[in-house]
């Protein structure tokens, strides 16, 4: 039980607004660095659009590769936000409070990034408007709603809208605090955004109710988004390794695994960069690591069942695909790395309390999980395509080109840059949640023992 510092509300404001009001010196250089990567990515995308997708490493039959992998990866990361803020809110886990904002933010930005990948991936991105908006009313040709690629933007768009609303509703009280502490154009900016928040009981009630309602409404979307992404793969009877019924829950649990890990990474970064040691405490890492043990083990169970049942029929192309995936160089190396990084190294480590409470170790294990989860998607997508059908004549190979690596770097930099830009104007740790958490958590004395306790409303 670590000592918890009780801060008064003024101190909370001062510490948490240090990102928005007193910008640290490194901020400018970090943003410039990330922005240059983002610009590089846009240039590369222009080059690819100009020359055609030949500049990637894609081939026949491996028509999908690193772009789709990265798309799935970012959709997976986006599951962090709702997992942390909605599910833990509904299950009344007190420790969620300081990380909710950052997790939701990660959701929003990773969804934006994910949404751009189908665009980058398409052969004629300038015609993508055909996809999302119904066009050509005169001839009665509408987008094909039977296509999972139509379900995708619908699900992701809904999720993005919901997450943005969720983020905004939770931001309102803090915007009012910022409005009262700024002058000039920033004051006007925050005044506009704060929607006249005064903090009276009715406003608080509305804010709480809308938060709970949004949490409950977001849950089905949360589950459906990655399910639909998994159905992109699972509905194709022609690809042996994909046509599996377990894909939807398997992808969702994997997404939670990688999303929560990404939140751990981000919490460690926030603690180091903005020195919010009083708010992001080892006990939060501890709680997240416990959650990750459960999620990671469940995900591993799904992985085993998935492999078991894909071998069930013992048919040619399925065996060929599993053979490539697990036993042929370089895929064997990726497969072993994926297993080690996503499960066998981090999860046993988290069983130890000393690891759970050590911030550097949590940082590195969470990064491991995300590298492993990227490899997982890659190992599902590419070997399955390269050994797609029973026609051994058309087996193919694939390796990503420099252009694809550049776009992956772009996606990382894009999310990072957006997070930093957000932190410049808004607090990354919610002020009001932190204050509430100070009231709602306390120490309880039982006999000689002191245990942490929380306040619950009684029905």
């Amino acid at each position: 039980m670590q000592q918890r510092r009780q801060l008064n509300e003024i101190a909370v404001n001062r510490e948490l607004l240090n990102g928005a009001l007193d910008t640290p010196a490194w901020w400018k250089w970090a943003v410039i660095g990330l922005a240059s990567v983002v610009i590089m990515g846009l240039v590369v995308f222009g080059f690819q659009t100009n020359r055609g997708l030949g500049v990637t490493g894609l081939s026949r039959p491996v028509f999908w590769g690193a772009y789709i992998t990265t798309f799935v990866f970012w959709v997976g990361i986006s599951h962090a936000g709702i997992m942390i803020s909605a599910i833990l809110r509904l299950t009344q886990a007190e420790w969620r409070r300081p990380v909710t904002r950052a997790a939701e933010l990660l959701t929003v930005f990773s969804l934006l990034t994910a949404l751009s990948f189908p665009l980058i991936h398409a052969g004629r991105p300038w015609r993508i408007i055909y996809w999302i908006l119904p066009y050509d009313y005169a001839r009665g040709i509408w987008p094909n709603i039977r296509s999972p690629l139509i379900w995708d933007p619908v699900a992701i768009g809904t999720y993005l809208t919901g997450s943005t609303l969720f983020l905004y509703v939770a931001l309102l009280p803090d915007l009012a605090v910022l409005r009262d502490r700024t002058v000039g154009w920033r004051h006007a900016f925050y005044t506009m955004l704060a929607l006249g928040w005064r903090g009276n009981p009715r406003q608080w009630k509305l804010q709480t109710v809308s938060g709970i309602l949004l949490s409950a409404l977001m849950l089905p979307i949360f589950v459906s988004v990655h399910s639909i992404v998994s159905w992109d793969f699972a509905v194709t009877p022609g690809v042996e390794g994909w046509n599996s019924t377990i894909f939807a829950p398997y992808f969702v649990i994997g997404a939670i695994h990688s999303g929560v890990s990404a939140v751990v990474t981000m919490m460690a970064l926030m603690r180091w960069l903005w020195k919010w040691d009083n708010f992001i405490r080892p006990e939060h890492f501890d709680a997240l690591a416990r959650l990750l043990i459960v999620v990671g083990t469940a995900w591993f169970g799904f992985t085993l069942v998935e492999i078991l049942f894909s071998l069930y029929t013992l048919e040619g192309s399925e065996l060929a695909f599993r053979d490539v995936q697990a036993f042929q160089w370089p895929w064997s190396f990726f497969f072993v790395s994926f297993m080690m990084l996503a499960f066998f190294i981090p999860v046993p480590m988290w069983l130890f309390k000393s690891v759970r409470n050590s911030i550097p170790l949590m940082f590195w294990t969470s990064i491991m999980v995300n590298i492993g989860m990227w490899l997982e998607r890659f190992l599902i997508i590419v070997p399955a395509l390269s050994r797609k059908t029973p026609f051994v004549y058309t087996y193919g190979e694939y390796s990503p080109s420099m252009v694809e690596f550049a776009m992956m770097a772009w996606s990382l930099a894009f999310v990072g840059m957006n997070m930093l830009l957000f932190a410049r104007f808004f607090p990354l740790v919610p002020l009001f949640e932190s204050k509430e958490s100070q009231i709602f958590t306390m120490d309880m004395k039982i006999g000689r023992a002191t245990i942490p306790a929380v306040l619950r409303e009684q029905e």
Binding site: R51, G52, L53, G54, T56, L58, S59, R60, P61, V62, F63, W64, P118, H121, A122, G123, R124, P125, R127, I128, Y130, W131, R139, G140, I141, W142, P143, N144, R146, S147, P148, L149, I150, D232, V235, T236, P237, G238, V239, L385, K388, T389, P390, F391, V392, Y393, T394, G396, E397
Partner: protein, 243 residues
């Protein structure tokens, strides 16, 4: 939604594997007829070659008792095509003549249809296709040249089908059996390929498709219901060559 009218045609093909010698004449004929880009050395290295019809070659048995087996594979024009429902923009759909058609202009290049196709007969234009100056005048004016970023595949030489149908409509009759020859059937020296109307019970393809050697690729497993019917190779020890 525009409803499709009934058509008297259901175009199909019969491939007699027993007759195929693997000479690749069909591949060349198709390449010339349909303005399929040239398969350069680079395309081979990148594994991005185009061949709307390909002759797959398999080895059977161990050396020295080894036999070469050939099977020509083109778009199967499935009645229940896995490529069709997945296209978000209806760039590929089934028309009322049993053809699985590709609308080049509508395609945005998601390559989802190629993923769905279990026969790997869909081809993506990774590069803008170029022909040497000498071949510019060889291009078929009836066939669109596909730009980069879109899918293409065997169309059963739809330009020839359309021309024959136009002539027949002008003469107020149906297209006769054998009137349409696709480029590959025309070029096949052993008559291994036959094209025709499967809806006409007296057409050559209909009669051949009732042969007891007839089978369809992957139909039992995936239920694609192809319009291409294969006739199995006749062996002393009779067994299907493939599929």
């Amino acid at each position: 939604m525009v409803t499709q009218q009934d058509s008297p045609y259901n175009w199909g093909m019969v491939v007699d594997v027993d007759r195929c010698t693997g000479c690749q004449a069909c591949v060349i004929a198709c390449q010339a007829e349909n303005n399929v880009p040239l398969n350069t050395e680079n395309l081979y290295k990148e594994q991005r070659t185009y061949s709307w019809i390909r002759v797959e070659r398999y080895w059977e048995g161990e050396f020295p008792d080894v036999k070469a087996r050939f099977i020509p594979i083109m778009c199967q024009h499935c009645g229940n095509a896995p490529c069709e429902p997945v296209c978000p923009v209806f760039a590929t759909y089934h028309n009322n003549e049993g053809l699985n058609v590709q609308v080049y202009n509508r395609c945005v290049g998601t390559r989802y249809c190629a993923i769905g196709c279990p026969y790997n007969v869909r081809f993506f234009n990774y590069w803008e296709p170029v022909w040497p100056e000498a071949l510019r005048n060889q291009l078929n004016p009836d066939v669109t040249i596909r730009s980069r970023g879109i899918m293409e595949k065997c169309s059963f030489c739809i330009q020839r089908i359309r021309r024959a149908e136009r002539v027949a409509r002008r003469d107020d009759r149906l297209v006769a059996d054998g009137e349409i020859q696709t480029a590959c059937t025309q070029a096949c020296p052993t008559n291994a390929l036959t094209f025709g109307n499967l809806k006409d019970p007296d057409s050559k393809v209909s009669r051949m498709s009732k042969d007891r050697r007839a089978y369809k690729l992957l139909d039992e497993k995936i239920g694609t219901d192809p319009n291409v019917i294969y006739l199995a190779r006749v062996e002393e020890k009779a067994e299907a060559v493939h599929g």
